[in-house]
């Protein structure tokens, strides 16, 4: 019997193939997080036994968890993919964006680095692992989301997208974002990872770590987060529900150390993944919409 995971997988594979067939130069945005890991896994299935017909692009903020970079390199090698890295530090050095300081948030700066990389390589489609259940602005976005020559998203002028007739033509300088995981929820992602016995960065599983409590989140003490005078370092058993920048992504208290335990935990969660862990969404009511309009992931 085909269950909902089979149908989600099939739909994602269909989208991957459709975009590759219709676009000239696609790229897959890969952060090393669980969603982009699933996306890369599906891309490999979509084109097996051939190698991936597009490169993989990591927008490197320089504020990564080392475990994630390790996983990124392993995954890219395992899939025989070609990795491109565009670094936010380069954008800062070139004076394209203001330097927020060594500990400052770089999340929003990524947009400039991303759009520059898209222009430089002439990409006309970028696959992303975004899901509609993550945020109310993402909930509104098409599976093939059109970006104008400035990389902007206009939520009032989205192309009609009926049935599964995805239409990927753009004029020079414009591009598409393609979201094969649009209809997956966080729980679907974990059930799928469990079913496929996929590898993931270790930080997704429960482990002991030094953390400080800041802005209602547990931040991992390390090169990107130094405890402030009024903060006390605690050693706790935690895991990460999302991976983003180390200075913006909170850990959750959890003893889930296996995929089965994580599936169980997520199926009973009463806080959303972004609500629990992401500092970058807390700036305003429409933080994600505002960033997306500018060309964010």
């Amino acid at each position: 019997m085909t269950d909902h995971l089979d149908l989600l997988e099939s739909h994602a594979i269909f989208i991957l193939r459709e975009v590759v067939a219709e676009c000239e130069r696609p790229v897959l945005l890969f952060s090393g997080g669980k969603d982009s890991a699933v996306l890369l896994h599906l891309a490999a299935k979509a084109f097996a036994p051939q190698s991936l017909p597009f490169p993989v692009l990591h927008i490197d903020t320089g504020q990564n968890f080392p475990e994630v970079i390790e996983f990124r390199d392993d995954a890219v090698e395992r899939h025989g993919a070609r990795l491109l890295v565009a670094s936010v530090q380069d954008s800062i050095d070139q004076g394209k964006v203001a330097d927020p300081g060594p500990m400052g948030p770089r999340n929003r700066l990524q947009t400039v680095t991303l759009l520059d990389a898209i222009t430089e390589h002439g990409f006309d489609a970028a696959f992303g692992g975004a899901r509609r259940d993550e945020d109310k602005a993402r909930a509104k976005e098409r599976i093939l989301s059109f970006r104008d020559a400035f990389g902007q998203w206009d939520p009032r002028q989205q192309r009609p997208e009926l049935w599964q007739l995805y239409q990927g033509k753009v004029n020079a300088g414009e591009h598409l974002r393609a979201f094969p995981l649009s209809d997956w929820t966080e729980l679907d992602i974990w059930q799928y990872i469990e079913r496929e016995e996929m590898a993931l960065p270790r930080i997704y599983f429960a482990h002991e770590r030094d953390v400080v409590r800041r802005d209602g989140m547990y931040l991992a003490v390390g090169p990107h987060v130094t405890p402030r005078a009024d903060e006390t370092v605690e050693r706790l058993v935690v895991r990460f529900r999302t991976v983003g920048d180390a200075n913006l992504t909170g850990a959750v208290l959890s003893d889930a150390s296996t995929l089965a335990a994580i599936v169980d935990e997520i199926s009973r969660a009463n806080v959303s993944e972004r609500g629990a862990t992401r500092g970058d969404d807390k700036f305003s009511e429409t933080a994600m919409e505002d960033r997306k309009r500018e060309g964010y992931f």
Binding site: E18, F47, D135, R142, P160, D183
Partner: protein, 418 residues
């Protein structure tokens, strides 16, 4: 713990602006505890900030800044809900006529339409238009929530009056299953909780009606197997397989298939899906197949089992026009049908649908939001089924050549109610 496998039900809200679609979805998600605490807190905080009461339930889906400022839905919001045996994909569509294209987007993949109308206003033109589009799109099951019962003091006669109007139209449009429910989305009556004000009603609540619906109806088909070729995969050691998403009847190893439009017969020698080699596949699965004979199949071709589709360059279709500029006879555009793109022109416009009477009146152009009955001519051969026999080989979109905008959606054949 292994969670049970689930089926997938796709639901879209339809109906006129301000009748309470978003509020109803918000209510459904809140009362079934499908919202996370922080999401509910955020909706509460936004409601307070904008001075619209403690909890504006429409903010659960109306997530864009402009939507919250204007109090209307602009584009479809997708939300997800889950029971132990079913995953729901909910498309909350806009009611405003200006955004009909977005409503059609949301309803095009729906198994079920949740029709929301205001009991005090009855059946408005926009509600008729949405029902008409839902019927054209092949939705067979509708749940009609007759909303704002609180505003008519829970009056049974007001409800019955609206229900009579709706059931007549639903019958004319050919829906197979019609459930009508008196509700108040605002007060949460008969959505998840049974209403104490509506003791004269003993039918299902909205949630019960949704749980009783059949999933996967969009794969309903009277056609043979259809595999539009998306991509050709080169296998190690030389051979080729043909990748695409299967629809229509199931496909088995050993089935005789016809490659169209070339009209070459061959046999399926292997089937592979995301989970590996298999002997058969059903609709909705992405597969790649090996063929017993060498062919030059490629993207845009179709592999089909009997009964075969019609291979043609000219066909009748029902067209929903979204373009800002009208379409007139002989004007050339681009058509995408399955995985094939070909130039198309409007050969002849039989007429456009009058939403009030469901009759076709003659017209010399298709204007924004018109539903037209037309004969189209394509440059290349395409293999089409009537939309009612197969939603994939029976559907197409029309694309503006200069801007690449999608200006129309079409269904092969003449809808039965026209």
């Amino acid at each position: 713990m292994k969670l049970a496998t689930k089926d997938l039900l796709r639901l879209a809200t339809v109906g006129s602006v301000d009748d309470g679609k978003s509020t109803l979805i918000g209510r459904l998600l809140v009362d079934t505890r499908q919202l996370f605490d922080d999401q509910l807190d955020a909706v509460q905080a936004a409601s307070e900030r904008r001075g619209v009461g403690d909890l504006d339930l429409s903010f659960v889906t109306d997530g864009l800044r402009a939507e919250r400022e204007q109090g209307i839905t602009i584009d479809v919001a997708y939300r997800y809900a889950s029971t132990p045996t079913r995953k729901f994909i909910i498309a909350d569509c806009p009611g405003h006529v200006q955004y009909t294209r977005n409503m059609a987007t949301g309803a095009s993949t729906a198994d079920v339409a949740l029709v929301v109308l205001n009991v005090a206003h009855g059946l408005k033109e926009q509600t008729r238009r949405h029902l008409c589009i839902a019927a054209l799109l092949g939705v067979r099951t509708i749940i009609v929530a007759v909303n704002k019962m609180d505003e008519v003091h829970w009056s049974e006669s007001a409800y019955v009056g609206v229900v009579d109007e709706v059931t007549t139209l639903a019958h004319d449009l050919g829906f197979e299953s019609v459930t009508t429910i008196p509700v108040s989305a605002l007060w949460g009556e008969n959505v998840v909780e049974r209403s104490s004000h509506l003791d004269w009603y003993d039918g299902p609540t909205v949630l019960q009606a949704l749980e009783a619906c059949q999933a996967g109806s969009w794969t309903h088909t009277r056609s043979g197997a259809r595999l539009p070729v998306q991509w050709v995969l080169r296998q190690n050691g030389g051979g080729r397989t043909y990748a695409g998403m299967l629809n229509g009847a199931p496909l088995h190893e050993g089935d005789v298939v016809t490659l169209l439009p070339a009209n070459v017969e061959t046999t399926i020698s292997s089937i592979t899906s995301g989970s590996g080699a298999r002997t058969a596949a059903t609709a909705g699965l992405s597969i790649d197949v090996g063929l017993a004979h060498e062919t030059d199949a490629g993207r845009g071709d179709l592999l089909a089992t009997a009964p075969l589709p019609q291979v043609t360059k000219e066909f009748t279709a029902t067209v929903c026009w979204f373009g800002e500029q009208p379409w007139r006879a002989n004007q050339r555009l681009r058509l995408k049908h399955t995985t094939k793109v070909t130039p198309v022109r409007l050969r002849e416009l039989t007429g456009v649908v009058d939403i009030e009477t469901l009759s076709v009146r003659s017209s010399d152009e298709l204007a924004t939001n018109d539903i037209g009955l037309a004969t189209l001519q394509t440059a290349d051969w395409i293999a089409v089924d009537d939309y009612r026999d197969n939603r994939v080989t029976g559907s197409f979109v029309i694309i503006d050549e200069a801007t690449n905008a999608t200006v129309a959606a079409g269904m092969v054949g003449r809808a039965s109610f026209l």
